[in-house]
Amino acid sequence: MSNNILEINNLSVSYGGIKAVKGVTIEVPEGSIVTLIGANGAGKSTILRTICGLEKTKTGSIKFLGEEILGKPANYIVAKGITLVPEGRCIFPNLTVLENLKIGAYLRKDSIEDDINYVFSLFPRLREREWQLAGTLSGGEQQMLAVGRALMAKPKLLMMDEPSLGLAPLIVKDIFSIIKTINDRSITVLLIEQNANMALQVADIAYVLETGSVTMTGKGRELLEDERIKEAYLGKKKQ
C-alpha cells in the first residue's frame, strides 16, 4: 500500500515498566479520516504523542510518507507536516488569539497571511477576538483556536486528541463539521474520541483500542452497526 500517509507498525510504548501500547499496527490512507476509539487508558493519546515525538520508544516503526519518523525530535516532525491538537486544547493563555495562530506557524518561513484569513473564515468568532488573550476565551472558542493553530503549520496530517472533551453538544457538532471541511481540503485527519458515536459517523476507517492493543478495525459506518461496539461504546444494552 503506497497511498498510506502514515503507517504505524508493531508500536509499543511503556511508562516506567508499564506497557501503555502493545504492538499496535495502524494504517492511515492519504486524504482519509481515521479514528481511534477506546476507553480511558486504552493508549490512544500515547500513540498520538509518540507520533509527534513527545514520547520516546524503541520498539516498532512509524512511517510518514514512507520515511521513518520514530525517534525524530518534535520540531522535525512538525516541519514534515504532522500537527496535533492536544487534549484539553492547551492554547497559550498568555498570548493573544492572533499570536496563538502565529505560533502555530512557528517553523514556516513563507507568508502566513492567507492561512490566518482561512482560519478566521472557518471560525469567524476568532476574528472578533483577534486581540484578546486566549485565556479569556470560552472552552469552545479555545478548541476552535487549538484547531486553527494546528492548521497554521500547513499540515498534511492533522491529529486531534479528544476535540469534543468538555464541550456543549452543539459546539461538538460544529467541531465535527469543521473536521469534515478540513478533510475536504485534502488534509488527512487522525482523530481520537471517547464520543464514539460522533467519531464513527465521520470516520472512513476506525480502530478500536483496548488496553494497548487494536481489537477491531473496519469502516466507520460498519462499526457503528456492530453489536459489540454498540454495547461497549455506544451505550446500547444487550438484548
Partner: protein, 333 residues
C-alpha cells in the same frame, strides 16, 4: 530652605537611581529565568562577580600587550579597557550558557528542588573557584578611580557634582529594558519565550526547540548581568569573590518585590530599592538640613540601608507574595 533641602537630597536620589539601574540589570536575569524554568538561579550573583573579575584580568593582560604594540601607556589603557568590555560581555554570556547546559539542562525533568540545589552548588563552585584564582584577595577594578577617563569623570547637575557613570547607568538601563520588552512582545523568539514559559510540551508541538529558547533566556540574563557588572564596579575600588553576593541578593529581592517572572516588575522593584537604600544612607544628613535633627545629632540611618532591603522582602512575602506585577498563580518554591 527648600532649595537647600533639594540640593542635599539630589545626590542621594541620583546615586539611588544609578544603583537601582544596576540592580535592575541583575534582577532581569533572575526574573526571566524564573519565568521560564521556575528556577531561582542562585548562581546569577556569582556570574555578575565573575564578570567583574574577567574585567580585572583581561585589562591586566591586555594593557602591556597594547603597550608592546607601540601605544603610549594612556592610550594602551583605553584600548585595553574597550576590548576588555567586549571580552567581559562575551565570556560572561558563555559562562551563563555553560552553567545552564551543564548544571540545569540534565535536570530538565527532575523535581524543581533538585535544580535549585544544583543552582546553589554552582554558586558555591564559582565563589570557590574565584577564591582559588584570586587567592582570596581583593582585585583592584581598572575602571574605578581617576584612571577611567570618561565614565568616572565628574559632571555637575545643578549644584551637585557626580560621576558620569551615575547618570549613564539609568539611561542605559532604561534603553536595554525597552529593547528587551520589545523583543519579548514583538518578535518571534519573544513569542516563543512567552509560550515556553507557560507550557513546554505544547511549545514542542509548535516546533519550538525549548532548549534553544532557554539558552536565549540565559544569554540575555548573563549579558545584562555583565553590563550591570561593568557599571556597578566602576563605583567600587575592587572585586572580591563574594562581591556578587550582596548585589545579587538585593536584585533578587527587587525581582520578588516587582513580582518574580515579570520584567517590568523587576525593573520598578530595583529602582525603588536602589533609591530607598540611598535616601536612607543620607537620611541623617537630610534631616539635619531640614532642621529635624539639631546640634549635630545623628541617628545612624545609614547603618540600616542593607537591612531595609531585607525587611522589605519579609514584608512583601507576608503581605503580597506575588509582588507588584506578579502572576496570581505563582507556585511555592
Amino acid at each position: 530652605m527648600i532649595g537647600k533641602l533639594f540640593s542635599t537630597c539630589l545626590p542621594y536620589i541620583l546615586s539611588g537611581i544609578s544603583v537601582g539601574g544596576q540592580y535592575a540589570l541583575i534582577a532581569i536575569g533572575y526574573t526571566m529565568v524564573y519565568g521560564i524554568l521556575r528556577l531561582i538561579n542562585f548562581a546569577h550573583g556569582d556570574i555578575f562577580m565573575v564578570a567583574g573579575l574577567i574585567m580585572v584580568y583581561s585589562n591586566v593582560a591586555l594593557t602591556p600587550l597594547f603597550m608592546n604594540m607601540g601605544l603610549s601607556a594612556g592610550s594602551a589603557f583605553i584600548v585595553s579597557i574597550i576590548s576588555s568590555v567586549v571580552i567581559v560581555l562575551v565570556l560572561t554570556v558563555i559562562l551563563g550558557l555553560t552553567i545552564e547546559k551543564a548544571a540545569y539542562r540534565p535536570l530538565r525533568n527532575a523535581p524543581r528542588m533538585s535544580v535549585m540545589i544544583s543552582a546553589i552548588g554552582v554558586s558555591y563552585l564559582i565563589q570557590n573557584a574565584a577564591i582559588y584564582i584570586t587567592g582570596g584577595l581583593a582585585k583592584p577594578y581598572p575602571a574605578s578611580g581617576a584612571a577611567m577617563p570618561w565614565l568616572s569623570d565628574q559632571i555637575t547637575i545643578g549644584s551637585t557634582s557626580i560621576k558620569r557613570v551615575t547618570v549613564i547607568t539609568p539611561i542605559l538601563t532604561i534603553l536595554l529594558v525597552v529593547a528587551l520588552v520589545l523583543l519579548i512582545k514583538k518578535t518571534k523568539i519573544g513569542m516563543a519565550m512567552r509560550a515556553v514559559s507557560k507550557d513546554f510540551r505544547t511549545s514542542r508541538l509548535m516546533g519550538i526547540e525549548v532548549n534553544n529558547v532557554i539558552s536565549v533566556t540565559f544569554f540575555i540574563g548573563s549579558f545584562l548581568a555583565a553590563v550591570g557588572s561593568l557599571l556597578y564596579f566602576t563605583n567600587y575600588a575592587s572585586v572580591t569573590p563574594t562581591s556578587g553576593a550582596m548585589p545579587g541578593l538585593k536584585a533578587f529581592v527587587a525581582a520578588v518585590f516587582g513580582g518574580i517572572g515579570s520584567v517590568p516588575g523587576a525593573v520598578v522593584g530595583a529602582f525603588i530599592i536602589g533609591i530607598c537604600e540611598n535616601i536612607l544612607k543620607g537620611l541623617d544628613n537630610i534631616l539635619s538640613t531640614a532642621g529635624v535633627f539639631k546640634d549635630g545629632f545623628t541617628f545612624g540611618f545609614a547603618t540600616f540601608s542593607d537591612a531595609f532591603t531585607f525587611i522589605l522582602l519579609i514584608v512583601i512575602l507576608c503581605v503580597k507574595p506575588t509582588g507588584l506585577f506578579g502572576e496570581k498563580n505563582t507556585d511555592k518554591v
